[in-house]
Amino acid sequence: MTLPTAGPRLVRRGLVICALALLGLAGVYVLAIGYTPVEARQGLAQKIFYLHVPAAWCALLAFSLVGLSSALYLWLHDARLDRFAAASAEVGVAFSAVMLTTGPIWAKPIWGTWWTWDARLTLTLFLFFLFIGYLALRAALVDPAERARFSAVVGILGMLLVPFIHLSVYLFRTLHPQPVVLKPSAPSLPPEMLQTLLASVAVFTLLYIGLVTARYGIALAEEAREAADAA
């Protein structure tokens, strides 16, 4: 049975955007490997930067939007905001997984260790676990209104960590490199590196939009099916 709702249309639209973004990701791989210069001190491992930074950008964007939409949900009680928060949280966890795996893979040859408990890394790991908890909470609660209300509070608390993570390299003594683009002065990168990084940020953001659209459509289709089953 095909469900007569906006869900399937959003799912198709989201998956098409995802396919385009994944093609773009292949283009980013080509640019990063073939176009950007090899960094003199870090070698080829530095090229992980073109994936790690955009993944971190998308994860923090996703969790910030979860917090914003959660706050708006508590104010307006609009189910669309709760559905969007759930979609953005799940996609944010996927991007966090990229960030938290590519970071140690870069750190091992550059720092000589996979992991160190400095402020940026520790806060990022806490954020990841917090949103794993957010998804577990959503899965555990049956009543939709209760689920939306409780998870909105957790989503807002998660969002509050985001500025601390961005500013942690200034607030604490940390091994993590300082920002090279999002900082008060001009970006400190050669043009080939900056262009590739910006292209990658655009592709990752497009992928975020596609994944959230598809995930939102799936939630809509599942809700329509549950409503049809209950009727």
Partner: protein, 38 residues
């Protein structure tokens, strides 16, 4: 002379592709089930 650490770059690129393509594929399968009403 830059250090010889290309294997780490390859590992990072493979892990990223596996996570993102894997998650997109999982959504695609879940979308199929949701739209068909299974």
């Amino acid at each position: 002379m830059p250090p010889d650490n290309g294997a780490y770059m390859v590992a990072g690129y493979v892990v990223t592709a596996v996570i993102l393509v894997g998650y997109a594929a999982a959504l695609w399968r879940r979308a199929g089930r949701a739209v068909r009403g299974e």
